[in-house]
Symmetry: C3
Subunit: 346 residues, 3 copies
């Protein structure tokens, strides 16, 4: 896809300065500009880059004052940041066109209900009693189990698995390799030679506007439902144990693990590789730094890091002192000698 | 599925107190009861919940003495806990009926041997020379490689991959996305421009009654076999490196990683995100707290946590003192000044 | 497969001592030898094992001097280590024959270009505009998205997903369950009721001779490309965030996570479960011990471990002292009392 500066300016209703026939075919950060790219400038701190960028076109706020000539073609708009978001969405839609139709190589149970304007790719499987809402896109090789319910406009990328009975809301996106509704990890010693499996008869409920990354696991509950509330965003390779509830708009980075029956509040943010034990409660707006380990309840409105989690200030002070421990230990030994000497001199 | 209290009482041979026609369609914990649910009461600590639960039916031990009226219908049985397990299994079997037959959309090599009463779903692949035991259930889109051997009554959920040559015992359950027998991670610098791959010609052997969660990886060995012994339970997103041996009935929580050639004993329990280095030995009945990091052999019969692993008592003491390090450091500095002062005064 | 000592000696041009008709059918380490196995001896430290090994054949350097009789058949060659690598490759090729031909159950878009000598297994999907180089092997149930480009001789094991537009070089191997090019994790608060998705319009570029383990995720970039340079080896369950660049011949163990926009140099080696924050630079030849957490730039040519990473010596000293903290704390308290006493006595 290639556009002229003029075409873009028309689309976003901006005014051009410079060569309006220059063509662009990609996006780039202003500091990493290449010929053929469009960049944007919004943060005044980066203004100096506009004089040296190699991008062909730069989108700027109409109020920007330039005090040197600029090689790139300039397009002025009311709000450069918003316009670039609009262009990105347009580009994304062009690159990833909404697929349509049901591939003749898909398997769809005769007992499934399929909505309007649905895409179901080759080798996708839709089980008995499954309900697929309008506008859903089910990519190839994805398996939607028996009695699963998908709302409208869900996107299931290739090789996703949703186990029987799980309920997904509207506009839920799940990336490849993720597994929704596998059995929770429940076994009881049988007192003889091993473990008995505790049946996991619950489901997973995912509310509207949730996005789940690749190779993430959300386990079905023992009874009732594991719940992922509206607006939650989970990155890749995350583990959500059985009976967990994740509150609205909470965001977790890759490789986080939440053990069974824990309740996480709203608007939390967890860094990568955080681990949270089972059967506890995390409040709302709790921010946890990467690799934190949580073993007890946490109140709302805190930013913590470490194992156990503490304030950032305490954490970084303690971390620095851990490296000084050999020195501290030596000083303590020296001091003991000195005090012993003083006592002897008495 | 809906049952009356009377039907349930008959099934589990219990005696009813209260409305025998009330219907139930789900399970709930007694403290989270809802109308239409059945709960159970076994732990005397929870007895007070029976007077306020909203569950329609509560299963109790026949010896329970009630000192107030109860709204729910009561079913008395010899052992409420055992009965609920029986009911859960019945419910699970109804929700997840044993699938039967070979889907016409599956691919089965003409050189594969398929047992009796086997289910093979759409788009599942069974390779050349594979042997599938009686009663196995292979869900859609699962790939069983060439010369793989599955015992009887194995369950492979959708999108599982078992690489060529691996040997699985009886009643092995593997959840979606797990990968058994991918190449161990072995590369040797070639002294020039990169690495040469060390061929991984071994296999994975999984013994009877093993259950493996979703998106877990068990690598094939360089030579010989990576071995998962009888009764082992692995949660989701676990890494088992090449040539590892995991002893009988050992249980690992999600996101544990075991590096190559390490030998883990029997009846161990590892918390989430534990990491164990390669080429070491872990004894029997070793319990490791979440996030522990192990870099050396561990003897049997220990409960440890941390990096390196220590007793729980030491760990929590040390963790608490890490947070006090700034205070310790300041006290030490103050003390140094005082001692210097004392020496000057001499 | 079974060979006589004589056949093997001929194949690797070695000279035999002992029974040339003994047959072998597997490989074993010399210290774990079993009848029917071939072992090798290269490291002089292990020489003593040759007198007690149960392997039927041992491959040794021609210069080896034996001072006792040996039960196994000996084959002498110029370089035992190189010969065993050659034998392993031969065995691997026999066990894992190069598959050929396009299965009639594969789905290949009429707009895709397929090279010569390609294998495409059952239920594999090749999207519109995809280009598959000569000699590629695409195993069953793998999905190659629209406009993806694979160089020559790539191996995609079963259940791999490569998203639209990604570019892979020659001899790239990807194991089962890995996901290349899922959306980077980018969301911006919309100031109202949740988050807006930031379109992820970039791709993933993987250069020649890269091997990626099972269930690993490499996210597509927001703009431009996430880049995995020539010769990189990634183990299982690794997370590579959007816009990351991994330098040539860098090797990462299982469960490592690299957050977005971080640049990793060449010839680095990261242990298991390492976590690296976003937007930083790691130099060349940086070795990080398992579980390390990195939150700032790291210069080239360092071996570090811990959070934050420090030298191995500092790390192990500090770790040992952390366990001594209760003792240190007590000594400090005792010393305070003694000093107070001394002052009082003044």
């Amino acid at each position: 896809m290639e556009f002229t500066a003029k075409q873009i300016a028309q689309f976003i209703q901006g005014s051009i300065e410079g060569d309006e026939n220059v063509t662009i075919n990609t996006f780039a950060k202003i500091e990493e500009g290449v010929p053929g790219a469009i960049s944007f400038l919004s943060n005044p701190k980066y203004t100096h880059y506009i004089y040296e960028t190699k991008s062909s076109v730069v989108l700027v706020d109409e109020t920007l004052i330039l005090d040197k000539p600029v090689e790139a073609t300039i397009i002025r708009v009311a709000n450069a940041r918003d316009c670039v978001a609009k262009l990105l969405q347009m580009y994304d839609a062009a690159m990833r066109p909404k697929k349509n139709g049901i591939d003749s190589l898909a398997f769809i149970s005769s007992k499934a209900q399929i909505g309007k304007d649905v895409y179901i790719g080759a080798f996708a499987c839709i089980g008995d009693g499954a309900v697929i809402g309008d506008g859903c896109q089910i990519y190839p090789n994805t398996v939607i189990g028996d009695n699963v319910k998908l709302g409208n406009d869900c996107i299931m990328y290739p090789n996703v698995t949703v186990y029987m009975g799980c309920k997904l809301g509207n506009r839920v996106t799940i990336h490849s390799g993720s597994v929704i509704g596998a059995d929770g990890f429940g076994f009881a010693p049988n007192g003889k030679d091993g473990y008995d499996k505790i049946p996991q008869i619950g489901i997973v409920t995912i509310e509207d506007d949730v996005e789940i990354g690749a190779n993430t696991c959300v386990d079905r509950s023992t009874m009732g439902s594991t719940v992922i509330r509206r607006g939650v965003k989970l990155d890749n390779l995350i583990q959500i144990g059985h009976n967990v509830e994740v509150g609205e708009n909470t965001v977790m980075s890759a490789q986080v693990g939440i053990a069974g029956s824990t309740k996480v509040g709203q608007w939390c943010m967890f860094g990568g590789q955080v681990g949270i034990t089972g059967h506890i409660e995390i409040g709302d707006k709790v921010f946890l730094g990467a690799k934190s380990g949580v073993i007890g309840n946490l109140k709302s409105n805190q930013a913590l890091i470490g194992t156990p989690p503490m304030s950032k200030l305490s954490y970084f002070k303690s971390q620095a002192l851990i490296q000084k421990l050999p020195e501290i230990y030596k000083e303590l030994a020296d001091l003991k000698k000195e005090v012993a000497e003083l006592k002897k001199q008495k």
